[in-house]
């Protein structure tokens, strides 16, 4: 048992609390806190739980729309998708754990986000993952890629949830700090959503799932050494995931949710029993009393401090109706999971923890939450870079040779090596597999489907955070549109450096501004999200990476569009304006070796007009082949369509266009390439013109090569360049 200890400034600092914050603790408590109480403050006031640096900015994001059932603030966002159904989704980071132990770090990240979604009453139907690694040549990269991908697959595959999409980038700024962002989309009945607000004084508080061990205890260095009797070896702070137990927990929870037993439910995420019990009671405006001796533990002599701060995985906290206890217990028995009544809701407004007959903590809940520090940290805007005109960028001798280099480069190469390690087909509803613009998952029994994607172009955000923030949102919207879905809402994962540096805080503030503008213009609110700060090593931040996860819906999966060319002799058109924007382009970086210039402007009005037009064509069944234009520009987009379909194309640089390399490799936004039967092309062009959508003919499908202005590259050759990068990097690993 813990010896009452004098709390020194060192102990306070080790708990991540500033002197001012500790003063506030003393004020709230009216006395010196116990170690357990200090631990709880430290967790609740951490950046992760309190959003103390980010909250003032996050408030600027639009979160409402008629179809939003639950915006940010719960375990996951919920949107109405019609027919009495709701999509429940969120994205979360596991960056730091994944760098230390890539397999378990990534695996437990996936486990955590799935719990967030099924806590709301939804069955997870798809997972996505957005990954950022250091340079391919960095000696650690290979090990990290291999472990992270295996960990994501290891957890998701075992859960039987298909992993259908994501993104992978490589950049030196992530050498010492990779990003692992995992997203889960779930499906629920819109009138059967479960929330975390506790209610009903006297109702029992139930712990279910796996046992509590000393996993990942915050501040483990000092806390465990001080408080455990056996200090023979330094405790590892990484958590080990057990997807099998989580699968049982999922099935047991969903079975219980089909009954009427649950008053409130909350998963034990990063801050374990602490944040779950505090959040449930604070949302319900109640007190809560827990008997920590009743918590199922995996190890002997666990202290109150350790039990409250443990980050053991695969656990949930629930408030049940007393009369439903037996029924609930039977369900958890069936699934062979722990089920323990560990406490009760009270009218005291206090969190009271008992351990070994003593009171280990007694603290008011409301101020713990409401008085959490909130910082308006100073920030400075990112200096903007000059625009780069295509004519000022040297043209390559051979556009097709440049294309080959680009599609074989780290950021554009095929991700097949990654997604083939993920079961992307389980559940039998995968209508669009990884490799297209967005994944599409049909809903069981009907022809409706959800489309989902994750996107961010960190180099744009770095060069111009506001533009980059808007671009990330717009790109997800475009990717959903390109398969024929109506984009409904987003989740976000804000990965940034140290917020105490004004230039980093500037990136954050401006990226949010850009995102907010795009969300508003596109009627595309934010319903959930996550913030991960302090992503830096040796004072060098990562590229600012606000990863966006978008979800949309389509009425008829039979009309879904895919990127693959489907027939010979079709006309290839580009919709949207091509101005040859080479600043921050892949062309500039991979061919000219420059990471420079202003990123492409995002015209949200054009974005919406053109996207709505394209979606209209797809919904009308007039277009089944569509690909948005993003990294690498037009020629890369067309090459991807040709490789996917196994059908080539003959292209001609339009007369009067900008410089050819600007035209083919520029990264102007709000563009889509479509292929339509030759006889329909004229009508499509006329419609586009009528809708104010710029349209241009690029060429015609056919053959087994991509020909451009008389030169040709065989598809087989392009494909082998495109497919080679990851297998080569990863070797036999």
């Amino acid at each position: 048992m813990s010896v009452p200890k004098k709390i020194t400034p060192e102990i306070v600092a080790e708990h991540g609390l500033s002197a001012d914050e500790y003063k506030l603790v003393l004020e709230i408590m009216g006395r010196e806190p116990s170690m357990t109480e200090l631990g709880i403050f430290s967790v609740m006031w951490s950046e992760h739980c309190s959003y103390k640096s980010s909250r003032v900015h996050l408030k600027k994001l639009p979160t409402k729309a008629p179809w939003v059932i639950q915006g940010p603030g719960e375990n996951a966002g919920v949107i109405d998708i019609g027919d009495g159904q709701a999509a429940v989704f969120k994205m979360e980071s596991h960056n730091h754990p994944s760098f230390i132990e890539p397999y378990q770090g990534a695996a437990t990240g996936v486990g955590g986000i799935m719990r967030d979604v099924f806590t709301m009453g939804a069955r997870p139907i798809a997972n996505l993952n957005a990954l950022r690694f250091g340079e391919p040549s960095d000696p650690k990269t290979r090990h990290l890629v291999s472990g992270v991908v295996a960990g994501i697959g290891g957890y998701g595959n075992c859960m039987g949830v298909p992993t259908v999409g994501g993104e992978v980038n490589f950049h030196a700024s992530y050498n010492g700090n990779i990003l692992v962002n995992a997203m889960t989309v779930g499906l629920a009945d819109s009138d059967k959503i479960f929330y975390s607000a506790a209610a009903g004084i006297g109702n029992p508080v139930i712990y279910v799932g796996a046992k509590t061990g000393r996993d990942g205890i915050h501040g483990a260095t000092m806390a465990s050494a001080e408080f455990t009797e056996d200090s023979e070896e330094k405790r590892p702070t990484v958590q080990v995931g057990d997807p099998f137990t989580e699968k049982l927990l999922l099935e047991a929870c969903l079975e219980l949710m089909a009954t009427d037993a649950i008053v409130a439910i909350q998963d034990m995420g990063a801050a374990g029993l602490t944040s779950s019990s505090v959040e449930m009671s604070s949302k319900g405006g109640l007190g809560i009393e827990l008997d920590l001796d009743k918590v199922p533990v995996r190890e002997t002599h666990m202290t109150a401090y350790e039990i409250m701060l443990s980050e053991s995985q695969e656990r949930m906290l629930m408030v049940l109706k007393p009369e439903a206890m037996d029924e609930a217990r039977a369900i958890f028995d069936k699934w062979e999971l722990d089920f323990a009544e560990i406490g009760v809701l009270t009218d005291t407004g206090h969190l009271v923890l008992k351990k070994d007959g003593e009171v280990a903590a007694d603290m008011p809940v409301a101020p713990l939450v409401e008085k959490a520090p909130l910082y308006e940290r100073p920030w400075i805007p990112t200096p903007l870079q000059a625009e780069i005109a295509a004519r000022d960028v040297p043209a390559p001798n051979d556009l097709l040779a440049a294309l080959k280099t680009m599609i074989g480069s780290a950021d554009l190469a095929s991700r097949r090596w990654v997604w083939e390690q993920y079961d992307h087909l389980v559940m039998g509803q995968t209508a669009q597999r990884p490799g297209g613009d967005a994944a599409v998952i049909r809903l069981p029994g009907i022809s409706k489907a959800l489309a989902m994607t994750s996107d961010c172009t960190p180099r744009y955000v770095f060069a111009d955070p506001k533009r980059g923030g808007a671009q990330a949102v717009a790109e997800t919207w475009r990717n959903l549109t390109a398969v024929g879905a109506k984009p409904l809402a987003i989740t976000d994962n804000m990965n940034f450096g140290n917020p105490q540096r004004p230039e980093i805080m500037g990136q954050f503030a401006l990226a949010i501004e850009g995102m907010a503008e795009a969300c508003k213009a596109l009627d595309y609110p934010v319903v959930s999200g996550n913030v991960s700060l302090y992503n830096e090593t040796n004072g060098k931040g990562i590229l600012p990476t606000p990863t966006i996860g978008g979800v949309g819906v389509m009425a008829d999966v039979g009309r879904m569009a895919t990127v693959a060319f489907k027939a010979k002799g079709e006309k290839v058109l580009v919709l949207g304006e091509t101005r040859g924007w080479l600043g921050q382009s892949i062309f500039l970086r991979e061919i000219q070796g420059q990471e420079e210039g202003a990123p492409p402007p995002v015209d949200l009005g054009a974005e919406r007009r053109i996207g709505d037009f394209v979606r209209g064509l797809i919904e009308a069944g007039e277009v089944v082949t569509c690909h948005d234009v993003s990294d690498g520009g037009l020629l890369v987009a067309v090459a991807e369509m040709a490789m996917a379909g196994g059908i080539g194309a003959t292209l001609t640089t339009p007369a009067g266009a900008v410089e050819a390399h600007g035209f083919w490799f520029g990264e102007d936004q709000a563009r889509y390439v479509i292929a339509v039967p030759a006889k329909a092309a004229e009508a499509t062009e006329a419609k586009a013109a009528a809708a104010g959508v710029p349209v241009m003919t690029l060429g015609e499908t056919g053959g087994d090569a991509l020909s451009l202005d008389g030169r040709a590259a065989k598809l087989a050759e392009l494909r082998s360049e495109h497919e080679a990068f990851l297998p080569r990097l990863m070797g036999a690993a």
Partner: protein
Amino acid sequence: MKAAIVVFPGSNREVDAKVALKQATGKDPVMVWHRDTSLPKVDLVLVPGGFSYGDYLRCGAIAANSPVLREVKARADAGMAVIGICNGFQIVTEAGLLPGVLLRNANLKFVCRNVGLRVETSGSRFTAGYKKGQVLSVPVAHHDGNYFADPRTLDELEAEDRIAFRYCGPEGRLDSIYNPNGSIRHIAGILNKKRNVLGLMPHPENAIEPMHGSTDGKALFKSMVEAVS
């Protein structure tokens, strides 16, 4: 035809299998929980894919020792049809209903993709709907599908026409580049001596409608139904 699907803690393709059986039979199969000690009277038991008991220890080993499997075994010995898909193949193999074992994939990685499958025999109630030599496109999704048995067993399987499917290229050619897991002699599925038990790694239940990109799995379920009616 009446069919049952055995569900273990950690099974995850039982619903996919249910949909496929329903499509073929017009009826919902009975779902049997692993703790059940008796099986309903059925013509077919399907052991589905997934990660029974987390695939801990060895894939399928813990499930193979469950009470319900003892019952499945007794029925199979009496001639009832049993099909084990993926984890189900591992389970029935561990239970001794089929010879050999499924080792970790040769490159140690999970693999999910469509593979070419060559039908090696149409002489079974499972494969009667295919022509010998026909090439199918069916997905695999597994970490441990690397079939292994000693040469004598393999020769026996071949001599008795008990290899049901082999991994192959689009034209039916056998080559290690088409083999997703390193399985010996490119074996993807095998039959028992009495030909009433089939184990296979690929997922025919994920190739039964145009949206799946292939409907080549349908005939397998149809054959099983026709065999009893």
